[in-house]
């Protein structure tokens, strides 16, 4: 779900970079407001690498397989580090594996990163009310995972179909929109379930990780 180089026009890629600079600046400002911001950098960095590696895990969905995105859980765990972490992950993808691109780095970061921040706030809701329970962690884990990937898919499809350098009629565009949206529904469900299972696993094994970086 990364938009490669060569597809989007310059105004869109420039707007993507502008939005990325603003969100990164805001995230870094929030991180610097912590008592000891340097203390969290190794934790955030290693978890960034771990999320990057975890995205190589494939789930068999015959006749193919899908890989995890985990931007919802990443937002839930890393908080304000989530956007820089996604930016770094996408940069590695573009430079090392030629997935995504350098001109589209900003747009792709917005597509993946903004929903991660939304997921962070969704996951925080579990702390309200009574004591944290596994059920609440699971429910808000599912919601943060599914909502994050759902918003990412919607942004990806909209940006792509409105900017692709091709003369598509309204009927074709609408058909493509529906096809892409329906094709991604299983991914949204799987991502939600995996985020639920992962959140419950982390709460059982190492609950401190869920307290955020």
């Amino acid at each position: 779900m990364h938009i490669p180089d060569g597809i989007l026009p310059v105004p869109v890629t420039a707007a993507g970079y502008a939005a990325t600079v603003v969100v990164t600046w805001y995230s870094v400002r929030k991180i610097n407001q912590k008592e000891n911001p340097r203390q969290d950098i190794p934790k955030a960095s290693l978890l960034t690498a771990a999320f990057f590696v975890a995205s190589w895990i494939h789930i068999p969905v015959p006749p193919t397989s899908v890989h995890l995105v985990l931007n919802g859980l990443l937002g839930a765990v890393l908080g304000y580090f989530a956007f820089p972490a996604i930016l770094i992950g996408l940069f590695f993808q573009a430079v090392m594996f030629q997935h995504g691109g350098l001109t589209t780095l900003g747009v792709n970061a917005v597509i993946m990163g903004l929903p991660a921040i939304i997921a962070h706030y969704i996951f925080r809701i579990r702390r309200f009310g009574n004591q944290e329970s596994r059920r609440k962690t699971g429910i808000f884990g599912f919601l943060s995972g599914a909502v994050a990937i759902g918003i990412s898919v919607a942004m990806f499809v909209l940006i792509l179909l409105t900017n692709i350098p091709a003369d598509l009629d309204i009927g074709t565009e609408r058909a493509a929109l529906y096809t892409l949206a329906i094709a991604h529904l299983p991914l949204i469900a799987i991502e939600g379930v995996i985020t639920l299972l992962l959140a419950v696993f982390l709460q059982r094994v190492r609950p401190r990780i869920l307290d955020g970086v």
């Binding site: 180089d5 978890l47 895990i57 820089p84 001109t103 190492r206």
Partner: protein
């Protein structure tokens, strides 16, 4: 998944290898954005010529780029296969029930040429200097310290965590786990696998932080003047900026490319 090492030929001695990293970063990134501006087919030809010329100057082996083209974007492949049949009105030929359209073919040509040219320049940018030097150049150009530290630390542990995952997957296979069918068990196993990777990394990060503090993390003297720019670097940067301006001006002067060509 094998990690793609992009700076394996960073010790060659070409003009681009010797170019001061900050100037190179600015010059090649501006050129990349100029390429993404191009919509005129005649400018596409010039783009291919410029890209090949820069690649030859960089002295990077052809195998370096061919290996990376082995994993082209799946998404790009889909665009290439679908666009010629759905975009535009002018039918060039019919293949069974499918109509091949001129506008779609031109759009594919545009997308693929821009993609390959930008990818090649990106590989030259990161392939002609050690990755650490390029990150330092980004830092010198204003990349926040938090981001620079995160990039370097993530990269440092990416290989180790990747190798952990590989070992865990091998252990799972040896114990009889088959990942070919979809089931709730498959989802559970994937979640436990991902969770184990996260827990291990979290624990490791606590040790890493202590080790970094002991080595003076956060109190290192700021290094000034790490990069020295000479007149040759500035002239090379000027040439690349002129080429980039040339592409943008040329595209504007030739009219709005594809649209003008179809009229």
């Amino acid at each position: 998944m094998k990690l793609g090492i992009v700076d394996e030929y960073s010790d060659l001695g070409s003009l681009l290898h010797r170019w001061e990293p900050r100037c190179k970063l600015i010059g090649l990134m501006v050129l990349i954005f100029a390429f993404s501006f191009v919509r005129d087919l005649r400018m596409l030809l010039a783009m291919v010529v410029v890209t090949i010329t820069i690649y030859i100057i960089s002295k990077l082996p052809v195998s370096f780029i061919l290996r990376r083209l082995r994993y082209p974007s799946f998404f790009l492949l889909v665009v290439v296969l679908i666009l010629p049949f759905v975009s535009g009105q002018t039918i060039v030929m019919s293949i069974g029930p499918l109509d091949l359209r001129q506008e779609g073919l031109i759009a594919v040509l545009l997308v693929v040429t821009r993609f390959l040219s930008i990818l090649t320049i990106g590989l030259i940018l990161f392939g002609t200097a050690p990755f650490l030097t390029t990150i330092k150049a980004m830092r010198a150009l204003g990349l926040p310290a938090i981001l620079a530290d995160m990039v370097l630390l993530s990269l440092r542990y990416l290989h180790e965590i990747g190798s952990d995952l590989q070992k865990m997957q091998t252990s799972m296979s040896l114990r009889g786990y088959k990942k070919h069918c979809f089931s709730t068990r498959a989802l559970n196993v994937a979640a436990w696998l991902g969770g184990s990777i996260l827990v291990r990394s979290y624990e490791r990060s606590e040790w890493v932080y202590k080790a970094m503090i002991l080595r003076g993390y956060g109190y290192a003297p700021t290094t000034r003047g790490e990069f020295q720019t000479n007149s040759r670097d500035v002239i090379t940067l000027g040439v690349f900026l002129l080429i980039a301006i040339g592409f943008i001006t040329g595209d504007i002067l030739y009219g709005r490319g594809v649209a003008a060509l179809l009229q």
